[in-house]
């Protein structure tokens, strides 16, 4: 039992925010019944022990490369997935009501989509104002009249829910386009189970694996039984997408090819994947690309991410898409104002869980209400376009409010107002202690062929500050695992993955998409280029040593000649004073290591190596990925601005990079299946090595014939061939 200091106790002290429901504690300060075990365990562990356990969890996030790309960072930069180890615990009874609500809502939205892309009776019966369809850019006219496979539009649905101060759950957002977060949810579970193993085993927590198995099986089943070996692909917008990590994670978990638009082509209304073995039919597309970008021929003509002719293929019935093209139509929060009536009409029942109070300004009466109560509301675009955000009149100047009112008056259809929600709080671990954060829970439902099945868990997202009511991963919020408790031991056992459940079979090597072959080729080339760079710089480094060193293999003169041969230095340098010579060589060598703007630098090439590797993430082993992360960290751990320090630390850095690189090459050589992919990797490596070697020979030997000897020595050293 660790000895607890006072500081430790202070950090464990948790005070909820007044006026909000707290998930963990009762108003009396005692833990709620279903939180008891967790609270006891955390108190037993103490803050320091919890933090130590948490380090191990964070390592998992690091080594698995769990990232979230945030739009406003420079291109290609990623955030480590923000998470904290204290889960949100939900008891069985409460979960049952959430489950019922999410199933109802998925069913309802599916019915609304079927109607709006079919007979549009809802418009004719005036249950939904036509502007919410006709003025919505997510209404994809070419998809009207298409009946998707199995008559289902919505195979995957998610809703964001939050708890009011009175303890009731409210739906605050619906996700019908391509709900994200299912991969992160699974990842969070892996991390929390590792961080809190003791208490995880004490609870009967419902397992997630069965749901993911079901999702995989239902995607395969969606192919129908026309073909013996149906092929499912996960369509991603690419590595710049914020949730690319989970695209590659889920594709890897399920054994589906991860593709981008350019990997697919449509021929005579069928979709094919371009592979090294030629075109392979695609039966099902799990899309993470917004539908309007999916086909530049019939949808957005400016899309570079889509597959020309895809809508024709869908229309002909040759391919199924999860979710159906056009399903983004019902994501607008404006629909919430009409859901109770729609639910009564379409399902003959009341909504199980209310939506946050919503007013669509396209109608006169609600608009008047909004204008009169502006300060109490959040104003949102009804049809959000990229870069549009909610506005909070409460904290706006009078002039800004007036401007907003005017905008609402000119384009009333375009605005929705919603009540501001007082989100519940949940304990979160921060560096300074355990503090309350506002939480929103995303819950998922998926169509299993007969009905909607709910993921027994979900993605809990929390605000960055206890004062902030905006919960958004975009704005740098955090996340948590969600523990749903079983009602009984029997129920828990039934929910476990059974050993008889099918083990995913990976597609054959012949299915390697052409783009992946191309990326493997470049991975090989960059790996080799980085290595050549390191060896070259490392061999020249001793030339700067002022000591007369017996073992010194290179003179300053030779170094200048080699650098001039590559045009990194001008020929005149050799005529300069000794001091200047040293300085020029030192500057050139350090730049060749550190300068991220020079395409010849080690830093730049490592960045490129990683960029290519990101495209291949689901195909690289987690060890390979870890080594790659380590390569990066050499630079992030040691990047002094001072030129002399750079020089002094440079040699150690290069030594470390060489070692890590050999681990990388070793893993690539030993742990890559000798399939087509490996051949591309090899072609890249060999080609780059030949290029690098011939370039080295040309630059060093072609100029002066007189002093070949010192050059030869250094060449042998660079080629690692001094002793043969």
């Amino acid at each position: 039992m660790p000895v607890k200091t006072d500081l430790d106790k202070d950090q464990l002290k948790y005070v909820p925010v007044e006026g909000h429901w707290d998930e963990a504690l009762l108003p009396s300060g005692l833990p709620r019944r279903h939180w008891r075990k967790l609270v006891v365990e955390i108190r037993r562990m103490g803050f320091r022990h919890l933090s130590r356990r948490w380090q191990s969890g964070q390592q998992l996030i690091q080594s698995e490369g769990v990232t979230y790309n945030v739009g406003n960072l420079t291109e290609g930069s990623e955030y480590s997935w923000p998470m904290d180890p204290i889960p949100l615990v939900i008891d069985a009874k409460e979960w049952a009501s959430i489950e019922r609500a999410v199933i109802q809502r998925a069913t309802l939205f599916n019915a609304i989509l079927s109607d709006l892309y079919g007979e549009q009776r809802l418009l004719h019966q005036r249950l939904l104002p036509s502007a919410l369809v006709f003025a919505n850019s997510h209404f994809l006219r070419p998809c009207v009249g298409i009946t998707p496979r199995g008559g289902v539009h919505l195979y995957t649905y998610a809703m964001d829910i939050a708890r009011s101060p009175a303890g009731d759950w409210w739906v605050i957002a619906d996700r019908t386009q391509a709900p994200s977060g299912m991969g992160y949810t699974l990842q969070n579970r892996l991390v929390s189970a590792r961080t809190l193993p003791g208490v995880f085993d004490q609870y009967q927590i419902r397992q997630l694996a069965r749901f993911y198995d079901m999702k995989r099986a239902s995607l395969l089943a969606l192919a129908g039984d026309q073909r013996a070996n149906p092929s499912v692909v996960l369509l991603s917008p690419g590595p710049h997408n914020e949730t690319y990590f989970e695209h590659s994670f889920l594709a890897g978990q399920w054994g589906f090819a991860l593709v981008e638009g350019a990997d697919l082509t449509v021929l005579d209304r069928c979709v094919y994947l371009r592979t090294l073995n030629g075109l392979q039919r695609v039966d099902v597309i799990l899309r993470r690309l917004d539908d309007s970008f999916c086909d530049p021929l019939e949808l957005r003509g400016d899309s570079l991410l889509g597959i020309p002719g895809l809508v024709q293929a869908v229309r002909s019935g040759s391919v199924a898409i999860d979710n159906a093209l056009g399903s983004g139509l019902v994501e607008t929060s404006a629909h919430m104002a009409f859901l109770p009536g729609l639910c009564r009409q379409l399902l003959g029942e009341e909504l199980h869980m209310p939506s946050v109070a919503t007013w669509w300004c396209g109608q006169e009466e609600p608009r008047r209400y909004v204008q009169e109560h502006l300060k109490e509301l959040v104003i949102k675009p009804a049809f959000p376009r990229f870069g549009q955000h909610p506005e909070f009149p409460e904290s706006m100047s009078a002039a800004a409010c007036e401007g907003l009112v005017r905008r609402i008056e000119t384009q009333p259809d375009e605005f929705v107002a919603q009540e501001r929600v007082a989100l519940s709080t949940v304990p979160a671990r921060t560096e300074t202690g355990i503090v309350p954060r506002h939480a929103v829970l995303r819950v998922y439902a998926a169509w299993d062929g007969h009905s909607f099945v709910v993921l027994p868990g979900g993605l809990t997202r929390v605000s960055t500050l206890d004062s902030s009511l905006v919960v958004s991963m975009h704005l740098g919020g955090g996340s948590k695992d969600t523990w749903v408790l079983s009602g009984s031991a029997a129920e828990a056992a039934a929910a476990r993955r059974r050993p008889t459940d099918q083990i995913p079979i990976q597609p054959g090597a012949g299915d390697l998409p052409s783009r992946v072959g191309d990326n493997l080729f470049w991975l090989g080339r960059y790996a080799e280029r980085v290595e050549a760079r390191v060896r070259f710089v490392r061999a020249l480094w001793p030339a700067l040593s002022s000591e007369e060193d017996f073992g010194r293999a290179v003179s300053l003169e030779t170094a200048i000649r080699l650098l001039a041969g590559f045009a990194y230095l001008s020929e005149e340098t050799s005529a300069a004073s000794l001091g200047e010579q040293r300085w020029s060589v030192q500057r050139t060598l350090t730049e060749m290591v550190y300068d991220p703007s020079q395409t010849s630098s080690l830093r730049w090439n490592l960045k490129e190596l990683r960029r290519v590797a990101v495209h291949l993430k689901e195909r690289l082993s987690s060890d390979t990925w870890r080594v790659l992360q380590q390569l990066e960290s050499h630079f992030s751990a040691f990047a002094p601005a001072n030129a002399d320090q750079r020089y002094l630390g440079g040699l150690d850095l290069l030594d470390n990079v060489v070692l890590t690189l050999s681990a990388f090459s070793g893993l690539l050589m030993e742990n890559t299946t000798r399939g087509f992919g490996w051949r591309f990797l090899e072609i890249g490596r060999r080609m780059e090595r030949a290029l690098q070697t011939s370039e080295l020979l040309r630059s060093s030997l072609s100029s002066a014939a007189a002093e070949v000897e010192p050059c030869l020595q250094i060449l042998l050293q660079i080629g690692d061939s001094s002793i043969t």
Binding site: L123, H124, R126, P129, S130, A131, F134, A135, R141, P142, V144, G145, T265, V266, L267, D268, R269, P296, L297, E298, G301, P308, G309, Q312, R315, Q411, D413
Partner: protein, 284 residues
């Protein structure tokens, strides 16, 4: 009036195209007032696949795929069309405010259908300049069709017809500023002005009978139809400042040019491209 129309679209590519997917809206619509006696679309090189369907607006679309390597693509539509619609009787007298109110109330399936055309569309985005331009025409209680006629007349007077002065990529606000353009631009301006007062207006593509002072003949033409509650759609050609009768052959309609582009396609390869269009309209 019977017309024989030949419409050729030719794409010339800088480098060879190995796979081309295209959609053509070159088959004249059939509707009361327009009879299509004969129509055929020929494509060269011969497409591997050709499929016919109706689009969302009920226009005939021919989708085709060319799989052989080609550096030019030619699509020729040839049609014989009889236009019988004639303008008779007095114009409906409904005021523009009343029309707008009826459409907004969505009290009739036809009104709901028409309400689709009161909203912005990709080529006709909302702009305060449109409403500024429209205001002069829409005096209180003025009959709707009188307003539309006046609007058409004003566009004809205010804007210079300059063939080849714009491409379809010129923004509507630029057209408004420069006060010049081609028939598509005039149609878009008029549609935008009508929608700025929340009236339903759609874009019609087709051909106009050649004649002295007729602009836009022997080319793809475009005009505007406006919805009159209880009286259906009425067409006006702002380029020639006329109400459309039997001198116009209708190809297709939609919210704007983007919905009815005569030919559009996506090619694999090809580099840059030039497009040539030849239209012959012959009254029989």
């Amino acid at each position: 009036m019977i017309f024989h129309v030949t419409h050729t679209t030719r794409y010339i590519y800088e480098t060879a195209v190995s796979h081309g997917l295209n959609e053509a809206r070159l088959t004249p619509r059939r509707f009361p007032g327009q009879e299509v006696r004969e129509t055929a679309l020929r494509v060269h090189p011969k497409p591997a696949f050709m499929h016919q369907r109706k689009d969302y607006y009920g226009n005939d679309v021919t989708a085709f795929e060319v799989l052989e390597k080609h550096d030019r693509l030619e699509a020729t539509a040839e049609s014989t069309v009889e236009v019988t619609s004639e303008l008779t009787g007095p114009l409906p007298s409904i005021s523009w405010e009343e029309a707008r109110k009826l459409i907004a109330a969505e009290s009739d399936p036809a009104f709901i259908e028409a309400s689709e055309f009161i909203h912005n569309s990709p080529y006709v985005p909302a702009a305060p300049q449109l409403n500024d331009y429209a205001r002069k025409t829409f005096a209180p209680e003025r009959p709707l069709l009188e307003c539309v006629q006046d609007l058409s007349h004003r566009i004809h007077e205010d804007f210079k017809y300059r063939p080849k002065s714009t491409s379809i990529d010129v923004a509507l606000t630029d057209v408004l500023r420069k006060r010049q353009g081609v028939c598509q631009d005039f149609a878009h301006v008029m549609i935008g002005a009508l929608r700025s007062v929340r009236l339903a207006a759609r874009y019609v593509s087709g051909y106009v009978r050649p004649g002295p002072k007729v602009q836009g003949a022997q080319a793809s033409h475009a005009w505007v139809a406006v919805f009159v509650p209880g009286n259906g759609w009425w067409s006006f050609d702002p380029t020639n400042d006329v109400m459309v009768s039997d001198s116009h052959v209708t190809l297709a309609w939609g919210r704007d040019y983007g919905d009815v582009a005569p030919v559009k396609g996506i090619t694999l390869g090809g580099g840059g491209q030039t497009v040539e269009v030849e239209v012959y309209v012959r009254p029989l």
